[in-house]
């Protein structure tokens, strides 16, 4: 590369001026969401696996277990429902859970690859960047959930028509909570290899110790200890929030717990990524 006059720059670029206003914030948010979307589109395997995983549960696991696991009439259901219908909200939660943890994995990857630094040296406040990143992750998750619901609908596993609309805020809140948890975990993971621990110690326990696959009263009958664990599991409330909202109802306790956990996890994540106090400040940056 020969020395290139910088004259081209002179005419095109003027220095940044003025304060960052609402418009600039919206541009930044749009850019982060767009990038997450582009990455998702480019990683088709990620989309396919996110769709195949719950479909396997729906069409193989549920088909086998519906003869074994009886579901009585429990709210929000007004009649007996097929087991496939019962686990549908849990599988939506599963997509959000995996996707939230995938965002965590992506942040660890970004940090290891250096991409995270380009985000963190933006002039926007760190909390805004992290919230934008979370919103981007949730947007991608919700697209996956609706793709799953569409496939399930084609195979006659359906919720009331209005439920597909009323579930949206619940998906959004539950997705945000799980993304915030993923972000918090990503700040504590030093290397990509350690992510396997997340699978074993977060995703599987959270998923199985919840009403995603079996009603809580069944768990209570089987083991009071496991029931207590389920009640302490935030994912339990995410699943119930989704379940009720699919039937146009609000489960207030679940809504409260999900919102509370969201605030808690998000605050902890912002703190963890704070250059002054967070875990990031204690990590040695490699180099000269």
């Amino acid at each position: 590369m020969s020395p290139q006059p910088a004259a081209a720059l002179d005419s095109a670029l003027s220095p940044a001026s003025g304060r960052l206003g609402l418009r600039q914030y919206m541009i930044c948010l749009r850019g982060i969401v767009l990038r997450e979307g582009l990455r998702f589109v480019h990683q088709r395997e990620r989309f396919i696996s996110s769709l195949v995983r719950p479909l396997i549960w729906l069409f193989i696991f549920a088909a086998g277990f519906r003869q074994v696991l009886g579901v009585s009439i429990i709210p929000p259901y007004k009649t007996y429902v097929l087991y496939e219908v019962y686990i549908m909200p849990g599988l939506c939660g599963m997509i959000l859970l995996f996707s939230g943890m995938q965002s965590s994995l992506s942040m660890v990857y970004d940090r290891e690859m250096g991409n995270m630094r380009t985000l963190l040296v933006s002039p926007f406040p760190r909390w805004f960047l992290l919230v934008s990143k979370m919103l981007a992750g949730v947007t991608v998750s919700i697209v996956q959930v609706y793709a799953f619901l569409a496939v399930a609908w084609l195979f006659h596993v359906r919720a009331p028509a209005m439920g597909y609309l009323t579930v949206l805020p619940a998906l959004f809140l539950a997705g945000l909570m799980l993304c915030a948890l993923g972000m918090l975990l990503s700040s504590a993971i030093r290397q990509l290899e350690n992510f396997a621990g997340i699978m074993n110690f977060v995703i599987f326990p959270a998923y199985f110790a919840s009403p995603a696959l079996y009603p809580l009263w069944r768990i209570q009958e089987a083991s009071p200890l496991l029931y207590a664990i389920c009640q302490a599991n935030p994912f339990t409330y995410a699943v119930e929030l989704i379940r009720f909202s699919l039937y146009g109802k609000v489960e207030w306790l679940s809504l409260g717990v999900v919102c509370g956990c969201l605030v808690l996890f998000l605050a902890a994540a912002v703190l963890a990524y704070d250059p002054a106090r967070g875990l990031m400040a204690r990590k040695k940056d490699m180099g000269g």
Partner: protein
């Protein structure tokens, strides 16, 4: 310490001012009361061997870490207290490659423009201009993954220029590149200093990248052991070249003897 003369000038705000900065990783001290300043429109080399503390200093300067001991100001804006204004005036090229390999050159640059609140139309104009500057206009729609190491570096430089910062920090930007790519990148950066008046802090351990007219700050084990014009540092150390001066400064401090 070989303090030939202060780089900053009184009365004009320094592009970068580092004052008494120390940093610790646990009990290990990575920087020991580092102080120097660089004037606008100057090319300043931050010289140091691996582990000297260059990257730590960069991480503090671009606010990846908080500066807990000392102060760092970018054109008068404190990086801790007024980080937004400070970061807007700074373009950074990191030592590690930071392009998103799955995205195209255009998408990578557009993402960066968004991170600085630059709208789509303005971003398109700026992207065209910075790519022309680094001679990469023809790779606009290529995936970053398809670029060579030197080309990726050029795109990262273009990205750092996109929001027109008056200060650029480049951390070992030429490491791992062949001689031709290194020379090309270095001359582009020097041209930006001359033509656009950008202040550049160029961290390196490659001594052949330093010229007599450059300003230099020499770091050793987290301490500034010399600063000033390269020719003056050479003279002050009683050597004949910056290679000898650098070796002398590192050897002398390693022995605990002033050069």
């Amino acid at each position: 310490m070989q303090h030939v003369r202060a780089i900053g000038q009184e009365g004009t705000p320094a592009a970068l001012e580092v004052a008494g900065v120390s940093h610790f990783y646990g009990r290990k001290q990575a920087l020991k009361s580092v102080s120097f300043s660089i004037r606008p429109a100057t090319f300043t080399v931050l010289l140091g061997l691996n582990g000297a503390g260059k990257t730590t200093l960069f991480s503090l300067t671009n606010h990846l870490f908080d500066t807990r001991h000392g102060e760092i100001r970018i054109f008068g804006h404190d990086i801790n207290r007024d980080s937004s204004e400070a970061l807007r005036r700074m373009g950074v090229v990191f030592q590690a490659r930071t392009l998103d390999l799955d995205l195209s050159v255009r998408q990578n640059l557009a993402y960066h423009a968004c991170l600085h609140g630059i709208g789509a139309r303005d971003a398109a104009r700026r992207i065209a201009a910075v790519l022309e500057t680094v001679e990469m206009s023809d790779r606009l729609d290529d995936k970053a993954r398809s670029l060579s190491g030197g080309q990726m570096r050029r795109i990262e430089i273009a990205r750092a220029l996109l929001h027109s910062p008056p200060l650029m920090l480049l951390d070992e930007a030429t490491v791992g590149l062949d001689i031709r790519s290194r020379a090309g990148i270095l001359s582009t950066i020097r041209s930006l200093v001359e033509r656009r008046g950008i202040a550049v802090l160029w961290a390196t351990h490659l001594i052949d990248e330093v010229e007599d007219g450059d300003e230099a700050v020499v770091l050793r084990q987290g301490e500034v052991v010399a600063q000033g014009r390269v020719a003056d540092i050479v003279q002050a150390t009683g050597t004949v070249s910056i290679q000898d001066a650098f070796a002398s400064l590192n050897r002398a401090t390693a022995d605990g003897v002033a050069p």
